[in-house]
């Protein structure tokens, strides 16, 4: 009985941990798969989402940083968590559009290394600007009151309500993106563009606008990840970079451009990580996910659900 409860708890925790990876990886994966753009600033979008979520949800006291030196004592508009959940994706969607138009577009035909350098630079600018303005200290991101505290589940017993919320929000969003990609003309164009963009254009379809929207959607998902992931830990300027590498790992393990792949891989990594932590091997949890990644990629270089063709 307790063993079963332990296993189920582990799976739910893994699902929750993986959910954040999935939200980040789905956006990253469709951008990489469709636009062949390596976006190292994806973590920065998560970071912006988290701070923006904090800003919208509550009022945060300022103790150091440039704003505090200017005599500003706090920031935030205190509209509550639901407001953040609605506003953040919209704002980050627009940030994504701007990023595509003014940064990414100029680098589509340039080598991956240039894309990595420019987006990584952008990520550092965002991160360090936040640190300079708001200070580097960690801010607690309160879970919404209606979703905090435990909920009694059958077999498992008490489980943090918010973790279930994270799983549910992720499931709804990823399902939405999946339906959009699988069942609309827009999605069909995006899928075909992933396979052979030039051929799509030869059919008379202009790809620049769908690509812009793809970028926006990917960004919005990263923003939401920041809002739902924020209350699981503290918010500080480093969290974007910390999430970036596991997110890329998820994309590569799942197969570039594959939403289902990102889901499977994200949940696998999350579950493994939680399993190692819960069995008292927290120190090995990072080693574990990279080792798993290495083994999978040795056996299937294109990722679990990736197509045989490579993406170069």
């Amino acid at each position: 009985m307790t063993l079963l409860a332990d296993i189920l708890t582990l799976l739910l925790n893994g699902l929750q941990q993986g959910a954040i990876y999935v939200l980040l990886a789905v956006g990253l994966s469709i951008i990489l798969g469709t636009l062949k753009f390596v976006n190292f600033a994806h973590g920065a979008l998560y970071l912006v989402g988290a701070y923006l979520g904090l800003f919208i949800t509550t009022e945060v006291p300022l103790t150091n940083g440039q704003l505090a030196e200017w005599g500003i004592q706090s920031y935030g508009i205190g509209l509550g968590f639901i407001a953040a959940l609605v506003i953040v994706p919209i704002v980050v969607f627009v940030i994504g559009l701007l990023m595509e138009k003014f940064v990414a577009q100029a680098f589509y035909s340039r080598p991956d290394t240039d894309q990595i350098l420019v987006t990584f630079g952008l990520a550092i600018i965002v991160q360090e600007t936040l640190r300079a303005m708001l200070g580097g200290n960690s801010q607690p991101f309160q879970q919404p009151s209606w979703a905090s505290g435990p909920i009694a589940l059958p077999i498992i017993g008490n489980f943090p309500r918010w973790r279930l919320g994270v799983i549910a929000i992720t499931a709804v969003l990823v399902l939405g993106v999946y339906l959009l990609v699988e069942y609309t003309d827009f999605g069909l164009i995006v899928q075909a563009g992933t396979l052979d963009g030039e051929m799509v254009r030869l059919l008379g379809i202009k790809l620049s606008r769908p690509y812009l929207v793809v970028f926006g959607i990917g960004a919005a998902l990263a923003g939401v990840a920041g809002v739902v992931g924020g209350p699981l830990a503290n918010v500080n300027p480093n969290i974007g970079t910390e999430q970036l590498v596991p997110a890329f790992l998820t994309v590569v393990i799942g197969g570039v451009g594959k939403i289902e792949g990102a889901v499977v891989a994200g949940l696998m990594l999350g579950t493994l990580q939680v399993a190692l932590i819960q069995t008292g091997n927290a120190a090995w949890s990072q080693v574990g996910i990279y080792a798993l990644a290495a083994v999978i990629l040795l056996v299937r270089p294109q990722g679990l659900l990736g197509s045989e063709v490579d993406v170069s």
Binding site: L188, Q191, A192, E198, L202, L203, I205
Partner: protein
């Protein structure tokens, strides 16, 4: 009447000058064949016409139906009525037959044009007509294109092009890698499309097969036109055939 007029174009891949002063005309309603050995510049010429880059056209002009389309983006050239069945077919292997075909008509739906103002001269073949033309594709509607045989993929690529707004159908090596009896059925399909009024520009290495159905021929060698004339003349010009086509 001349539908497509290519005048002295020069195309480059980076610094290499691969299309040199190529001129050719494709007349309305005819089958024009562009022949030559591997590497002669046939595919590059088609890419120039369809707006695909590289190569980039640095001089000369391409006019379609009286409008200058030199260096226009491929999506704009395509909606004017130029459709391409590319080398190696390039069907979307992970998508089904029906999805491959549906893609070709998405631009006709206003909600997919993203604000572009499109005015089609030709409506393209309807889905029903397509399946009537290619009954094999009808049977395989929900099958992934990647699982089709070479001949079926070729049919799908042609069907997809016809489903676009098509006044000029450009076929790049449609016989490549196909068994002789399949070549014959592709040949019959091309004949029928031509008889139904679509102008065709056929690029082939298989000169014998191409000469059989072409009205006019151009022969390319190392990026320049070395022969132009009707198919009958080329059939009897043994020297050109030996020298440039090896047949």
């Amino acid at each position: 009447m001349t539908l497509l007029e290519v005048e002295d174009i020069n195309g480059y891949y980076g610094e290499s000058h691969i299309i040199q002063d190529v001129s050719m005309n494709v007349d309305d309603g005819e089958i024009t064949a562009l022949l030559g050995r591997n590497g002669a510049g046939k595919t590059s010429t088609l890419r120039c016409i369809s707006g695909a880059t590289p190569p980039d056209v640095r001089s000369g002009s391409i006019r379609f139906d009286g409008t200058d389309i030199t260096n226009a983006p491929p999506e704009d050239i395509a909606v004017r009525g130029v459709s391409l069945v590319p080398e190696e077919r390039r069907v979307f292997t992970d998508l089904t037959v029906a999805e491959n075909l549906h893609l070709a008509e998405t631009v006709r739906n206003k909600s997919n044009t993203w604000g572009r103002n499109l005015d089609f001269r030709d409506e393209g073949m309807s889905t029903e007509e397509i399946y009537e033309y290619f009954p094999r594709l009808d049977e395989r509607r929900s099958q992934k294109a990647g699982t089709l045989s070479g001949g079926e993929q070729q049919m799908l690529a042609i069907a997809r092009a016809l489903h676009q707004s098509t006044d000029l159908l450009m076929l790049d090596e449609p016989y490549e890698g196909l068994a002789p009896q399949i070549i014959e059925s592709v040949e019959n399909a091309i004949r029928r499309i031509s008889e139904d009024g679509t102008t065709i520009l056929l690029v082939e290495q298989n000169a014998i097969a191409a000469m059989k159905i072409a009205d006019r021929c151009y022969v390319l060698d190392r990026g320049t036109v070395v022969f132009e004339g009707d198919a009958e003349t080329l059939r009897n010009d043994q020297e050109t055939r030996d020298r440039y086509l090896g047949v």
